[in-house]
């Protein structure tokens, strides 16, 4: 897996597909003969994916009367941005800020402390580190939802209920196991000679970590940051349970309440759906390869 991750990351870094180009060419000749059923299925699935997306986008540009009067799949006769305006007026900027704060406030600490732990697990030795590593591996199997009740009670006890910090703390904890697994696999692939030469130059382990391991692990760090970031950005259960003030809503929660309040104005509801996805869509357009590599976060094979 670490090799996959590495080649993914490498592709992402250089923006080429040199690694798999040869393999793909071989597959290409093979697959070309599958063209008819394969192509048919491919286009069919495209319709399944695109129709809902198309519907959401065009409806969000319709006026109320356009929504009620036109064919639902026809392009809006008088396209309008007023739905977007009313969404923005309904505090979406605030939700957006909250989501950004929670996402950054979770991902940055997660990656930082997981990187340190991974470095220790790979470079260090001893029973304690083995135990820690084993515990993180076990943690991969804990579903977050199952611990929501004790987390809720603890957050109340800590006087953190209804705060953005309440969303960050459990998010960090639950992202640690996978992040450590991926980063430690990556650090393990750094050639030992490099560590040796750092040591001979008189660098401490602390210096080696920041000056050698960190730059060499950067692609993997970007990958896990994206993976974790998307999960936090789109998370719904923690905000639902741990916050209540309208001013502390994150985007998915804001979408849900907005939908409840504006259920008569479907175009506006769908405009809110589009708006909440926009930042990630922008990310997808500018860094698609990296984003997709981040999404599988080394799950492939």
């Amino acid at each position: 897996m670490s090799t996959v991750l590495k080649s993914n990351a490498q592709e992402a870094r250089t923006g080429t597909v040199t690694g798999s180009a040869a393999a793909k060419r071989g597959l290409g000749t093979r697959l070309r003969r599958l063209n008819i059923p394969g192509g048919l299925g491919g286009w069919l699935w495209l319709a399944v994916i695109i129709l809902p997306v198309y519907y959401v986008v065009i409806t969000s540009l319709k006026t109320q009367s356009g929504y009620f009067g036109q064919n639902p799949l026809a392009l809006p006769t008088e396209p309008t941005l007023e739905n977007y305006q009313s969404v923005l007026e309904a505090d979406f900027a605030q939700y957006f800020m909250n989501s950004a704060i929670v996402t950054l406030g979770s991902v940055i600490p997660t990656v930082l402390i997981s990187f340190m732990a991974s470095f220790a697990i790979v470079r260090g030795a001893g029973r304690f580190l083995k135990l820690v590593n084993g515990m993180f591996l076990m943690g991969l199997a804990i579903p977050l939802q199952a611990t929501i009740i004790p987390i809720y009670l603890m957050i109340i006890r800590l006087n953190l209920y209804d705060s953005l910090l309440a969303l960050m703390l459990p998010s960090i904890a639950f992202a640690i196991p996978l992040t450590v697994l991926i980063l430690s696999n990556f650090i393990r692939d750094v050639p030992n000679e490099l560590f040796e030469s750092m040591r001979l130059d008189g660098c401490s382990e602390w210096q080696t970590m920041w000056r050698l391991a960190l730059p060499l692990t950067r692609p993997a760090i970007v990958t896990v940051a994206i993976y974790n970031g998307l999960h936090v950005w789109n998370g719904f259960l923690l905000p639902l349970v741990l916050t209540q003030s309208p001013s502390l809503r994150v985007l998915p929660l804001g979408l849900w309440t907005f939908q409840g309040e504006f259920s008569v104005n479907i175009p506006a509801v769908l405009a809110s759906v589009v708006l909440s996805t926009l930042p990630i869509l922008v990310l997808y357009v500018i860094g698609r390869r990296q984003l997709l590599a981040g999404l599988t976060a080394g799950f492939s094979k």
Partner: protein, 311 residues
Amino acid sequence: MSNAVSTAPGRAVGVKDSKQTEQRKAALAWLTVPALFFFLVFAVIPLAGVLILSFTRRDGIGAIGAAGLDNWFSVLADPGLYNALGLTFLIMIVSWLVQTPISLLLGVFTAGSQRYRAALAVLYFLPLLLSSAAVAIAFKALLDPNFGLATGLGLPFLAQDWLGVPQLALGLVIFVIAWQFVPFHTLIYQGGVRQIPKSLYEAAQIDGAGTIKQFFHITLPQLKYTIITSSTLMVVGSLTYFDLIFILTGGGPGNSTRILALDMYLRGFRANLMGPASVIAVILVIIGLALALFLQRLGGKDKQGSQLEGL
């Protein structure tokens, strides 16, 4: 470390060196402390907490008292639990049956080198960007019998009361889950297919094996571990389809889409029965662990890495 030195004093230096190195290595343990702290406080303690809470009850003012096995007896005697369990497994199995072949075929399809396939893949992965909340809300609008897809496409049979009839709601939930998660698994299979050595296909071509034969004799066996990883993620992940179902159907109509995770939430936070909800949570953890271990065993022991990730 002192491999170039063979004289006696040199060796002594080497020994001293390795002692130092050992100390350095042990000292590294400190670096795990921040991660360990977060993990213990917000993952390990809650996990232990949920087990303890399953033996407690909360009175009207929120004080927690011992309840012995009362919660367990009441939940295990509640037909609602078996409804939720049945639905959870039904959705799990049907979702697996629907999503696996589609993702596998799309993975093979998008791994091809043709331009149009790469272009299609860009669009296939769009649902990955959406939150469950966005997906659920979009489909609710889409399914409106008058102003949704049914009217748009002129297909009256799509104009059903999707959220009002139990069987339809269940089918809808499975469809929307597939819509949201097939892209992720397609991505996994695409990665797996790209790793298959092309020499295998060249050899098969020389032997005169056709495309279909190649698929069943090369692609499928070579994807064994990818299938196990994807299935593990799919099956264990299906225990946590909470957000989507919560927004789409709220567990209804009646209790016809009330899966375990939703049952836990509704008991705990709507009915304010934290004890019984904790029982459901413990059951969820047990099922998750058991499934992960079972699927890991299925894959054999030679590939720990990938399967551990699958957990």
